[in-house]
Symmetry: C2
Subunit: 138 residues, 2 copies
């Protein structure tokens, strides 16, 4: 049975569930930062996905990227499946700006997570969920 | 017309061309490190790919990952499309080991590129090319 890794559960709030992935917002106001977790047991690397799931996950990465672009107009989107620390397959989708804390480097390990105020986070989750659903039905 | 970014051209050697991506080996013996560059003009982010190209690029990421696994038996595969410095869309596929120079962090910016000896690089390119072709025909 699929169970979300405790570190991911601790560092995130759920935005929504798409066909394959659970979509999470990282509790870090430093960057608009989504994580997609395919709800499949025992996967570590992207190439562990079977072909239909792989195609769907790529479509969901696309949706998450477009939702971040619609809400934040970032300079770049960073997409990464690393998982050296938390080995459960998860894909980062991050909106990057030329004046953000880690620019132009990758964000991992640069600044400790700074959680949103509760109301800000709730509002962002709602807006992201609405945006993801809008893209999903196109 | 598609033209490879000069930084990518400088830091890599070509392994092969797949349906959408040019497949490059980074001149860095610190990690087995492939870069896929979709041969499409003007793309910056993964979600700039149209749907058929996106599906094919994901299949080619899969091939590159499996080729690295077959040759190196890494502990993890890292896949990332960042492009904050070199903005032409390119996807890193890296074989990671628990005793490599950057473990468990991401590899970017940790150690300067250390090129292979010419014969080692040529041999690795041949082996990767053979492995990619083997996977492609399955």
């Amino acid at each position: 049975m699929f169970e979300l890794h405790p570190t991911l559960a601790n560092d995130t709030v759920e935005i929504t569930q798409l066909n394959v992935c659970r979509v999470l917002l990282i509790r870090d106001k430093t960057y608009p930062w989504i994580v997609l977790v395919p709800e499949r047991e025992g996967l570590r690397d992207l190439d562990d996905l079977n072909e239909p799931d792989r195609i769907q996950v790529m479509a969901e990465i696309d949706q998450a990227s477009k939702a971040l672009k619609a809400l934040f107009t970032p300079y770049k989107i960073n997409v990464a499946a690393l998982g050296n620390v938390v080995e459960q397959l998860h894909i980062h989708v991050i909106a990057r700006f030329q004046n953000d804390a880690a620019w132009p480097g990758p964000i991992w390990g640069v600044a400790p997570l700074k959680d949103y105020a509760d109301t800000d986070r709730d509002q962002l989750v709602s807006r992201l969920k609405a945006e993801l659903n809008k893209i999903a039905v196109l």
